[in-house]
Symmetry: C2
DNA sequence: GCAAAAACATGATATATGTCATGCAATTTG
DNA sequence: CAAATTGCATGACATATATCATGTTTTTGC
Protein backbone atom coordinates (compact mmCIF):
# COMPACT_ATOMS: atom_id res chain seq x y z
CA UNK A 1 0.00 0.00 0.00
CA UNK A 2 1.59 3.23 -1.21
CA UNK A 3 1.72 6.32 0.93
CA UNK A 4 -0.31 9.25 -0.33
CA UNK A 5 2.02 11.70 1.36
CA UNK A 6 4.85 10.55 -0.85
CA UNK A 7 2.86 10.22 -4.05
CA UNK A 8 4.29 12.65 -6.57
CA UNK A 9 0.95 12.94 -8.31
CA UNK A 10 -0.55 14.56 -5.25
CA UNK A 11 1.19 17.79 -6.16
CA UNK A 12 -0.86 18.17 -9.35
CA UNK A 13 -4.26 17.46 -7.85
CA UNK A 14 -6.66 19.11 -5.42
CA UNK A 15 -5.11 16.82 -2.83
CA UNK A 16 -2.16 19.15 -2.56
CA UNK A 17 -4.29 21.16 -0.13
CA UNK A 18 -4.53 18.27 2.32
CA UNK A 19 -2.49 18.20 5.52
CA UNK A 20 -0.04 15.44 6.31
CA UNK A 21 -2.48 13.89 8.74
CA UNK A 22 -5.25 13.92 6.20
CA UNK A 23 -3.02 12.27 3.64
CA UNK A 24 -2.04 9.54 6.08
CA UNK A 25 -5.68 8.93 6.79
CA UNK A 26 -6.48 8.79 3.11
CA UNK A 27 -3.70 6.29 2.47
CA UNK A 28 -5.49 3.90 4.82
CA UNK A 29 -8.82 4.21 3.06
CA UNK A 30 -7.69 4.10 -0.52
CA UNK A 31 -7.48 1.12 -2.85
CA UNK A 32 -4.87 1.02 -5.62
CA UNK A 33 -5.71 -0.50 -8.97
CA UNK A 34 -3.95 -1.26 -12.22
CA UNK A 35 -6.09 -0.79 -15.29
CA UNK A 36 -5.14 -2.07 -18.73
CA UNK A 37 -5.49 -0.08 -21.90
CA UNK A 38 -9.01 -0.49 -23.18
CA UNK A 39 -10.49 -1.46 -19.83
CA UNK A 40 -13.45 0.41 -18.41
CA UNK A 41 -13.08 2.09 -15.02
CA UNK A 42 -16.76 2.86 -14.73
CA UNK A 43 -19.71 3.20 -17.07
CA UNK A 44 -22.47 5.72 -17.57
CA UNK A 45 -25.14 4.99 -15.00
CA UNK A 46 -22.83 3.28 -12.49
CA UNK A 47 -22.97 4.36 -8.90
CA UNK A 48 -19.35 5.06 -8.12
CA UNK A 49 -19.28 5.83 -4.42
CA UNK A 50 -16.05 7.79 -4.44
CA UNK A 51 -13.42 9.25 -6.70
CA UNK A 52 -10.46 7.84 -8.60
CA UNK A 53 -7.14 9.64 -8.47
CA UNK A 54 -5.14 9.05 -11.64
CA UNK A 55 -1.57 8.22 -10.71
CA UNK A 56 -0.53 7.32 -14.22
CA UNK A 57 -1.98 6.95 -17.70
CA UNK A 58 -4.75 8.69 -19.61
CA UNK A 59 -8.41 7.83 -19.96
CA UNK A 60 -11.29 9.08 -22.06
CA UNK A 61 -14.65 10.13 -20.67
CA UNK A 62 -17.36 9.20 -23.14
CA UNK A 63 -21.09 9.37 -23.51
CA UNK A 64 -23.21 7.16 -25.69
CA UNK A 65 -25.56 9.12 -27.91
CA UNK A 66 -28.94 7.77 -28.96
CA UNK A 67 -27.61 7.28 -32.49
CA UNK A 68 -25.37 4.58 -31.07
CA UNK A 69 -22.17 6.57 -31.37
CA UNK A 70 -19.81 7.29 -28.52
CA UNK A 71 -18.72 10.86 -28.01
CA UNK A 72 -15.48 11.64 -26.20
CA UNK A 73 -16.34 14.49 -23.87
CA UNK A 74 -13.09 14.84 -21.98
CA UNK A 75 -9.63 13.34 -21.53
CA UNK A 76 -8.22 12.83 -18.05
CA UNK A 77 -4.55 12.49 -17.22
CA UNK A 78 -2.11 11.99 -14.36
CA UNK A 79 -2.96 14.02 -11.28
CA UNK A 80 -6.62 14.50 -12.12
CA UNK A 81 -9.64 13.06 -10.36
CA UNK A 82 -12.39 10.94 -11.88
CA UNK A 83 -15.96 10.96 -10.71
CA UNK A 84 -15.92 14.17 -8.68
CA UNK A 85 -19.02 15.52 -10.34
CA UNK A 86 -21.11 12.42 -9.71
CA UNK A 87 -19.94 12.33 -6.12
CA UNK A 88 -20.88 15.93 -5.41
CA UNK A 89 -24.19 15.75 -7.27
CA UNK A 90 -24.88 12.43 -5.58
CA UNK A 91 -25.87 10.92 -8.89
CA UNK A 92 -24.82 7.94 -11.01
CA UNK A 93 -22.01 8.59 -13.47
CA UNK A 94 -23.04 10.67 -16.47
CA UNK A 95 -20.03 9.52 -18.48
CA UNK A 96 -18.01 6.34 -18.91
CA UNK A 97 -14.27 6.25 -18.19
CA UNK A 98 -12.13 4.01 -20.41
CA UNK A 99 -8.34 3.71 -20.23
CA UNK A 100 -6.42 4.86 -23.32
CA UNK A 101 -3.15 3.61 -21.84
CA UNK A 102 -2.28 1.30 -18.97
CA UNK A 103 -3.20 3.18 -15.84
CA UNK A 104 -2.51 3.34 -12.12
CA UNK A 105 -5.43 4.72 -10.16
CA UNK A 106 -6.40 4.93 -6.50
CA UNK A 107 -9.98 4.78 -5.34
CA UNK A 108 -10.92 7.00 -2.40
CA UNK A 109 -14.37 6.43 -0.89
CA UNK A 110 -16.89 9.21 -0.81
CA UNK A 111 -17.09 9.38 2.97
CA UNK A 112 -13.40 10.22 3.12
CA UNK A 113 -13.69 13.01 0.58
CA UNK A 114 -16.72 14.50 2.28
CA UNK A 115 -14.78 14.64 5.53
CA UNK A 116 -12.09 16.64 3.80
CA UNK A 117 -14.74 18.94 2.34
CA UNK A 118 -15.95 19.72 5.83
CA UNK A 119 -12.65 20.21 7.53
CA UNK A 120 -10.40 21.66 4.85
CA UNK A 121 -11.54 24.73 2.99
CA UNK A 122 -8.57 24.94 0.69
CA UNK A 123 -9.35 21.43 -0.50
CA UNK A 124 -12.99 22.09 -1.30
CA UNK A 125 -12.05 25.34 -2.99
CA UNK A 126 -9.52 23.44 -5.11
CA UNK A 127 -12.09 20.86 -6.19
CA UNK A 128 -14.51 23.65 -7.00
CA UNK A 129 -11.94 25.37 -9.16
CA UNK A 130 -11.27 22.17 -11.05
CA UNK A 131 -14.94 21.66 -11.75
CA UNK A 132 -15.28 25.29 -12.81
CA UNK A 133 -12.40 24.74 -15.22
CA UNK A 134 -14.18 21.69 -16.62
CA UNK A 135 -17.36 23.72 -17.03
CA UNK A 136 -15.58 26.45 -18.93
CA UNK A 137 -13.95 23.90 -21.18
CA UNK A 138 -17.28 22.17 -21.78
CA UNK A 139 -18.93 25.48 -22.73
CA UNK A 140 -16.12 26.27 -25.14
CA UNK A 141 -16.29 22.87 -26.78
CA UNK A 142 -20.06 23.18 -27.03
CA UNK A 143 -19.68 26.41 -28.98
CA UNK A 144 -17.05 24.83 -31.22
CA UNK A 145 -19.28 21.84 -31.92
CA UNK A 146 -22.15 24.14 -32.79
CA UNK A 147 -20.27 26.73 -34.83
CA UNK A 148 -17.13 25.27 -36.33
CA UNK A 149 -16.67 22.96 -39.28
CA UNK A 150 -15.20 19.49 -38.87
CA UNK A 151 -11.97 20.69 -40.44
CA UNK A 152 -11.65 23.52 -37.94
CA UNK A 153 -12.40 21.23 -35.04
CA UNK A 154 -9.82 18.71 -36.20
CA UNK A 155 -7.18 21.43 -36.42
CA UNK A 156 -7.96 22.62 -32.90
CA UNK A 157 -8.01 19.08 -31.55
CA UNK A 158 -4.56 18.29 -32.93
CA UNK A 159 -3.16 21.39 -31.24
CA UNK A 160 -4.93 20.48 -28.02
CA UNK A 161 -3.43 17.00 -28.09
CA UNK A 162 0.04 18.37 -28.62
CA UNK A 163 -0.30 20.98 -25.87
CA UNK A 164 -1.90 18.72 -23.33
CA UNK A 165 -0.03 15.46 -23.76
CA UNK A 166 3.16 16.54 -25.51
CA UNK A 167 5.27 14.84 -28.14
CA UNK A 168 7.77 12.00 -28.30
CA UNK A 169 11.41 12.50 -29.32
CA UNK A 170 10.48 11.93 -32.96
CA UNK A 171 7.84 14.65 -32.79
CA UNK A 172 4.84 12.31 -32.85
CA UNK A 173 1.97 13.03 -30.46
CA UNK A 174 2.53 11.20 -27.19
CA UNK A 175 -1.12 10.29 -26.73
CA UNK A 176 -1.89 7.87 -29.50
CA UNK A 177 -5.53 7.80 -30.47
CA UNK A 178 -7.14 5.73 -33.19
CA UNK A 179 -8.76 7.53 -36.11
CA UNK A 180 -12.05 6.44 -34.67
CA UNK A 181 -11.26 8.06 -31.35
CA UNK A 182 -10.19 11.32 -32.95
CA UNK A 183 -13.43 11.29 -34.92
CA UNK A 184 -15.27 10.69 -31.68
CA UNK A 185 -13.62 13.72 -30.09
CA UNK A 186 -14.53 16.08 -32.90
CA UNK A 187 -17.94 14.54 -33.47
CA UNK A 188 -17.72 13.29 -37.02
CA UNK A 189 -17.67 10.06 -39.00
CA UNK A 190 -14.43 8.06 -38.92
CA UNK A 191 -14.12 8.29 -42.71
CA UNK A 192 -14.40 12.06 -42.66
CA UNK A 193 -11.72 12.23 -40.01
CA UNK A 194 -9.37 9.99 -42.00
CA UNK A 195 -9.96 12.00 -45.15
CA UNK A 196 -9.16 15.28 -43.43
CA UNK A 197 -6.03 13.85 -41.84
CA UNK A 198 -4.90 12.76 -45.31
CA UNK A 199 -5.65 16.23 -46.60
CA UNK A 200 -3.70 17.90 -43.78
CA UNK A 201 -0.88 15.49 -44.53
CA UNK A 202 -0.84 16.40 -48.23
CA UNK A 203 -0.87 20.08 -47.32
CA UNK A 204 2.14 19.50 -45.08
CA UNK A 205 0.30 20.68 -41.97
CA UNK A 206 0.88 17.35 -40.31
CA UNK A 207 2.80 14.20 -41.10
CA UNK A 208 1.35 10.73 -40.77
CA UNK A 209 3.86 8.16 -39.52
CA UNK A 210 1.81 4.99 -39.60
CA UNK A 211 -1.02 5.83 -37.26
CA UNK A 212 1.09 8.32 -35.40
CA UNK A 213 0.78 12.01 -36.08
CA UNK A 214 3.34 14.80 -36.14
CA UNK A 215 2.21 18.42 -36.10
CA UNK A 216 4.36 20.15 -38.71
CA UNK A 217 2.87 23.60 -39.22
CA UNK A 218 1.36 24.51 -35.94
CA UNK A 219 0.73 28.17 -36.77
CA UNK A 220 -1.20 27.26 -39.91
CA UNK A 221 -3.26 24.72 -38.01
CA UNK A 222 -4.05 27.34 -35.39
CA UNK A 223 -5.18 29.78 -38.04
CA UNK A 224 -7.25 27.07 -39.68
CA UNK A 225 -9.09 26.53 -36.38
CA UNK A 226 -9.72 30.28 -36.34
CA UNK B 1 -33.28 48.39 -0.29
CA UNK B 2 -35.07 45.04 -0.08
CA UNK B 3 -34.42 42.53 2.64
CA UNK B 4 -32.78 39.33 1.49
CA UNK B 5 -34.37 37.40 4.34
CA UNK B 6 -37.78 38.15 2.95
CA UNK B 7 -36.93 37.64 -0.69
CA UNK B 8 -38.99 34.74 -2.01
CA UNK B 9 -36.38 33.94 -4.61
CA UNK B 10 -33.92 33.01 -1.91
CA UNK B 11 -35.73 29.72 -1.46
CA UNK B 12 -34.80 28.55 -4.98
CA UNK B 13 -31.13 29.44 -4.83
CA UNK B 14 -28.03 28.31 -2.98
CA UNK B 15 -28.75 31.19 -0.61
CA UNK B 16 -31.37 29.07 1.11
CA UNK B 17 -28.50 27.59 3.11
CA UNK B 18 -27.60 30.97 4.63
CA UNK B 19 -28.51 31.86 8.20
CA UNK B 20 -30.68 34.81 9.07
CA UNK B 21 -27.65 36.80 10.20
CA UNK B 22 -25.83 36.07 6.99
CA UNK B 23 -28.84 37.18 4.97
CA UNK B 24 -29.09 40.43 6.91
CA UNK B 25 -25.44 41.06 6.27
CA UNK B 26 -25.87 40.30 2.58
CA UNK B 27 -28.78 42.71 2.33
CA UNK B 28 -26.43 45.51 3.36
CA UNK B 29 -23.83 44.67 0.74
CA UNK B 30 -26.05 44.01 -2.22
CA UNK B 31 -27.11 46.38 -4.96
CA UNK B 32 -30.45 45.94 -6.70
CA UNK B 33 -30.80 46.62 -10.39
CA UNK B 34 -33.53 46.68 -12.98
CA UNK B 35 -32.47 45.46 -16.39
CA UNK B 36 -34.50 45.96 -19.54
CA UNK B 37 -35.10 43.27 -22.12
CA UNK B 38 -32.17 43.26 -24.51
CA UNK B 39 -29.74 44.90 -22.12
CA UNK B 40 -26.41 43.29 -21.33
CA UNK B 41 -25.64 42.45 -17.71
CA UNK B 42 -22.02 41.63 -18.43
CA UNK B 43 -19.95 40.66 -21.44
CA UNK B 44 -17.39 37.98 -22.20
CA UNK B 45 -14.08 39.19 -20.86
CA UNK B 46 -15.53 41.50 -18.21
CA UNK B 47 -14.21 41.27 -14.69
CA UNK B 48 -17.38 40.88 -12.68
CA UNK B 49 -16.23 40.97 -9.07
CA UNK B 50 -19.23 39.21 -7.63
CA UNK B 51 -22.41 37.36 -8.53
CA UNK B 52 -25.85 38.42 -9.65
CA UNK B 53 -28.89 36.82 -8.08
CA UNK B 54 -31.81 36.74 -10.51
CA UNK B 55 -34.94 37.89 -8.71
CA UNK B 56 -37.08 38.00 -11.80
CA UNK B 57 -36.83 37.50 -15.55
CA UNK B 58 -34.73 35.28 -17.80
CA UNK B 59 -31.41 35.91 -19.47
CA UNK B 60 -29.29 34.12 -22.04
CA UNK B 61 -25.63 33.30 -21.58
CA UNK B 62 -23.88 33.54 -24.92
CA UNK B 63 -20.45 33.14 -26.40
CA UNK B 64 -19.21 34.71 -29.59
CA UNK B 65 -17.60 32.21 -31.93
CA UNK B 66 -14.78 33.17 -34.28
CA UNK B 67 -17.17 32.90 -37.21
CA UNK B 68 -18.96 35.93 -35.79
CA UNK B 69 -22.02 34.04 -34.62
CA UNK B 70 -23.33 34.09 -31.08
CA UNK B 71 -24.07 30.76 -29.47
CA UNK B 72 -26.54 30.54 -26.60
CA UNK B 73 -24.88 28.26 -24.09
CA UNK B 74 -27.34 28.45 -21.24
CA UNK B 75 -30.54 30.15 -20.07
CA UNK B 76 -30.78 31.48 -16.53
CA UNK B 77 -34.01 32.14 -14.68
CA UNK B 78 -35.44 33.35 -11.39
CA UNK B 79 -33.58 32.06 -8.37
CA UNK B 80 -30.34 31.27 -10.18
CA UNK B 81 -26.99 32.96 -9.84
CA UNK B 82 -24.94 34.58 -12.60
CA UNK B 83 -21.16 34.68 -12.66
CA UNK B 84 -20.47 32.02 -10.03
CA UNK B 85 -18.00 30.23 -12.24
CA UNK B 86 -15.95 33.29 -13.04
CA UNK B 87 -15.91 34.25 -9.40
CA UNK B 88 -14.66 30.88 -8.21
CA UNK B 89 -12.12 30.51 -11.01
CA UNK B 90 -11.05 34.09 -10.42
CA UNK B 91 -11.22 34.77 -14.13
CA UNK B 92 -13.00 37.23 -16.41
CA UNK B 93 -16.42 36.13 -17.64
CA UNK B 94 -16.33 33.40 -20.26
CA UNK B 95 -19.86 34.18 -21.41
CA UNK B 96 -22.04 37.26 -21.89
CA UNK B 97 -25.35 37.63 -20.07
CA UNK B 98 -28.18 39.39 -21.93
CA UNK B 99 -31.72 39.86 -20.63
CA UNK B 100 -34.47 38.11 -22.60
CA UNK B 101 -37.14 39.78 -20.48
CA UNK B 102 -37.16 42.70 -18.10
CA UNK B 103 -35.21 41.56 -15.07
CA UNK B 104 -34.69 42.28 -11.41
CA UNK B 105 -31.24 41.28 -10.21
CA UNK B 106 -29.15 41.86 -7.12
CA UNK B 107 -25.38 42.13 -7.22
CA UNK B 108 -23.47 40.63 -4.31
CA UNK B 109 -19.75 41.39 -4.14
CA UNK B 110 -17.23 38.60 -4.24
CA UNK B 111 -15.82 39.31 -0.78
CA UNK B 112 -19.23 38.64 0.72
CA UNK B 113 -19.68 35.33 -1.09
CA UNK B 114 -16.20 34.17 -0.15
CA UNK B 115 -16.99 34.84 3.50
CA UNK B 116 -20.03 32.58 3.23
CA UNK B 117 -17.89 29.92 1.56
CA UNK B 118 -15.60 29.92 4.55
CA UNK B 119 -18.16 29.96 7.27
CA UNK B 120 -21.10 28.02 5.87
CA UNK B 121 -20.51 24.58 4.47
CA UNK B 122 -24.04 23.95 3.36
CA UNK B 123 -23.82 27.07 1.22
CA UNK B 124 -20.59 26.12 -0.53
CA UNK B 125 -21.90 22.61 -1.05
CA UNK B 126 -25.03 24.07 -2.63
CA UNK B 127 -23.05 26.23 -5.01
CA UNK B 128 -20.91 23.23 -5.90
CA UNK B 129 -23.97 21.16 -6.69
CA UNK B 130 -25.32 23.87 -8.94
CA UNK B 131 -22.08 24.07 -10.87
CA UNK B 132 -21.96 20.29 -11.13
CA UNK B 133 -25.47 20.38 -12.55
CA UNK B 134 -24.35 22.96 -15.11
CA UNK B 135 -21.38 20.78 -16.02
CA UNK B 136 -23.58 17.75 -16.58
CA UNK B 137 -25.93 19.79 -18.72
CA UNK B 138 -23.03 21.21 -20.72
CA UNK B 139 -21.64 17.71 -21.37
CA UNK B 140 -25.04 16.51 -22.51
CA UNK B 141 -25.52 19.45 -24.84
CA UNK B 142 -22.02 18.96 -26.21
CA UNK B 143 -22.88 15.38 -27.16
CA UNK B 144 -26.14 16.51 -28.74
CA UNK B 145 -24.35 19.18 -30.76
CA UNK B 146 -21.84 16.62 -31.97
CA UNK B 147 -24.16 13.71 -32.65
CA UNK B 148 -27.66 14.92 -33.36
CA UNK B 149 -29.11 16.52 -36.46
CA UNK B 150 -30.50 20.04 -36.40
CA UNK B 151 -34.00 18.63 -36.56
CA UNK B 152 -33.42 16.44 -33.52
CA UNK B 153 -31.88 19.31 -31.60
CA UNK B 154 -34.79 21.59 -32.42
CA UNK B 155 -37.25 18.99 -31.18
CA UNK B 156 -35.36 18.60 -27.91
CA UNK B 157 -35.02 22.35 -27.48
CA UNK B 158 -38.76 22.93 -27.84
CA UNK B 159 -39.42 20.35 -25.14
CA UNK B 160 -36.77 21.90 -22.95
CA UNK B 161 -38.35 25.33 -23.32
CA UNK B 162 -41.76 23.99 -22.40
CA UNK B 163 -40.46 22.07 -19.39
CA UNK B 164 -38.23 24.79 -18.06
CA UNK B 165 -40.27 27.93 -18.59
CA UNK B 166 -43.80 26.60 -18.96
CA UNK B 167 -46.70 27.74 -21.10
CA UNK B 168 -49.24 30.55 -21.08
CA UNK B 169 -52.97 29.96 -20.77
CA UNK B 170 -53.27 29.66 -24.57
CA UNK B 171 -50.60 26.94 -24.63
CA UNK B 172 -47.88 29.10 -26.13
CA UNK B 173 -44.38 28.86 -24.68
CA UNK B 174 -43.93 31.41 -21.93
CA UNK B 175 -40.38 32.25 -22.85
CA UNK B 176 -40.61 33.96 -26.19
CA UNK B 177 -37.46 33.68 -28.26
CA UNK B 178 -36.88 35.03 -31.73
CA UNK B 179 -36.20 32.55 -34.53
CA UNK B 180 -32.69 33.84 -34.49
CA UNK B 181 -32.31 33.02 -30.80
CA UNK B 182 -33.70 29.53 -31.20
CA UNK B 183 -31.24 29.00 -34.05
CA UNK B 184 -28.51 30.25 -31.80
CA UNK B 185 -29.46 27.71 -29.12
CA UNK B 186 -29.39 24.74 -31.46
CA UNK B 187 -26.39 25.98 -33.43
CA UNK B 188 -27.79 26.41 -36.89
CA UNK B 189 -28.60 29.12 -39.44
CA UNK B 190 -31.71 31.19 -38.78
CA UNK B 191 -33.20 30.13 -42.11
CA UNK B 192 -32.76 26.45 -41.31
CA UNK B 193 -34.46 26.97 -37.99
CA UNK B 194 -37.39 28.79 -39.59
CA UNK B 195 -37.75 26.09 -42.23
CA UNK B 196 -37.83 23.32 -39.65
CA UNK B 197 -40.36 25.17 -37.51
CA UNK B 198 -42.57 25.48 -40.60
CA UNK B 199 -42.11 21.79 -41.24
CA UNK B 200 -43.01 20.87 -37.65
CA UNK B 201 -46.01 23.14 -38.00
CA UNK B 202 -47.17 21.42 -41.20
CA UNK B 203 -46.71 18.05 -39.53
CA UNK B 204 -48.89 19.22 -36.66
CA UNK B 205 -46.14 18.71 -34.10
CA UNK B 206 -46.29 22.36 -33.14
CA UNK B 207 -48.47 25.30 -33.96
CA UNK B 208 -47.14 28.71 -34.90
CA UNK B 209 -49.22 31.58 -33.55
CA UNK B 210 -47.44 34.58 -34.99
CA UNK B 211 -43.99 34.23 -33.51
CA UNK B 212 -45.28 32.27 -30.59
CA UNK B 213 -45.06 28.51 -30.46
CA UNK B 214 -47.41 25.87 -29.08
CA UNK B 215 -46.17 22.32 -28.58
CA UNK B 216 -48.96 20.12 -29.92
CA UNK B 217 -47.61 16.59 -30.08
CA UNK B 218 -45.08 16.39 -27.33
CA UNK B 219 -44.60 12.63 -27.47
CA UNK B 220 -43.80 12.74 -31.19
CA UNK B 221 -41.35 15.57 -30.65
CA UNK B 222 -39.67 13.58 -27.91
CA UNK B 223 -39.35 10.57 -30.17
CA UNK B 224 -38.00 12.77 -32.93
CA UNK B 225 -35.26 13.95 -30.60
CA UNK B 226 -34.48 10.30 -29.90
C1' DG C 1 3.26 -17.83 -38.31
C1' DC C 2 -1.22 -17.83 -40.04
C1' DA C 3 -6.12 -16.86 -39.97
C1' DA C 4 -9.27 -13.57 -38.46
C1' DA C 5 -10.37 -9.29 -36.98
C1' DA C 6 -9.74 -4.60 -36.58
C1' DA C 7 -7.98 -0.30 -38.23
C1' DC C 8 -6.88 2.56 -42.05
C1' DA C 9 -7.74 4.42 -46.58
C1' DT C 10 -10.21 6.08 -50.66
C1' DG C 11 -13.98 6.47 -54.14
C1' DA C 12 -18.87 7.22 -55.33
C1' DT C 13 -23.03 8.96 -53.98
C1' DA C 14 -26.73 10.94 -51.09
C1' DT C 15 -28.31 14.39 -48.08
C1' DA C 16 -28.57 17.76 -44.53
C1' DT C 17 -27.54 22.20 -43.91
C1' DG C 18 -25.54 26.77 -45.10
C1' DT C 19 -25.69 30.69 -48.11
C1' DC C 20 -27.63 34.08 -51.04
C1' DA C 21 -31.60 36.31 -52.81
C1' DT C 22 -36.12 38.13 -52.47
C1' DG C 23 -40.59 39.46 -50.52
C1' DC C 24 -43.85 40.17 -46.99
C1' DA C 25 -45.23 41.17 -42.17
C1' DA C 26 -44.52 43.28 -38.01
C1' DT C 27 -42.47 46.46 -35.23
C1' DT C 28 -40.02 50.63 -34.15
C1' DT C 29 -38.86 55.45 -34.86
C1' DG C 30 -39.05 60.19 -36.04
C1' DC D 1 -48.82 58.18 -39.70
C1' DA D 2 -45.37 57.27 -42.90
C1' DA D 3 -40.85 55.59 -43.31
C1' DA D 4 -37.54 52.62 -41.96
C1' DT D 5 -35.87 48.85 -39.71
C1' DT D 6 -36.17 44.36 -38.09
C1' DG D 7 -37.97 39.77 -38.06
C1' DC D 8 -40.19 36.01 -40.54
C1' DA D 9 -40.64 33.13 -44.56
C1' DT D 10 -39.53 30.59 -48.75
C1' DG D 11 -36.96 29.37 -53.07
C1' DA D 12 -32.70 28.21 -55.54
C1' DC D 13 -28.36 26.68 -55.17
C1' DA D 14 -23.74 25.32 -53.18
C1' DT D 15 -21.20 22.42 -50.26
C1' DA D 16 -19.71 20.01 -46.22
C1' DT D 17 -20.32 15.81 -44.37
C1' DA D 18 -22.51 11.16 -43.83
C1' DT D 19 -23.14 6.82 -45.79
C1' DC D 20 -22.11 2.79 -48.43
C1' DA D 21 -18.83 0.05 -50.77
C1' DT D 22 -14.45 -1.91 -51.37
C1' DG D 23 -9.55 -2.77 -50.79
C1' DT D 24 -5.31 -2.61 -48.16
C1' DT D 25 -2.69 -2.68 -44.09
C1' DT D 26 -1.96 -3.63 -39.37
C1' DT D 27 -2.95 -5.95 -35.21
C1' DT D 28 -4.65 -9.77 -32.51
C1' DG D 29 -5.30 -14.42 -30.98
C1' DC D 30 -4.48 -19.21 -31.31
Amino acid sequence: MGKCEQCIVREFSSFKALTKDELVHMANCKTSKTIRKGETIFSEGDTIGGVFCVKDGVCKMTKLSSNGRDQIVHLVKRGELLGQRSMISDEPANLSAVALEDMQVCFIPKSEILTFFNQNNRFSMGVMKTICGDLKQADDIMVNMAQKTVKERLALTLIYLEDTFGTNADGTLKLQLSRDEIASMIGTATESCIRLLSEFNKLGLIELVGKKIVVRQRAKLERMGE
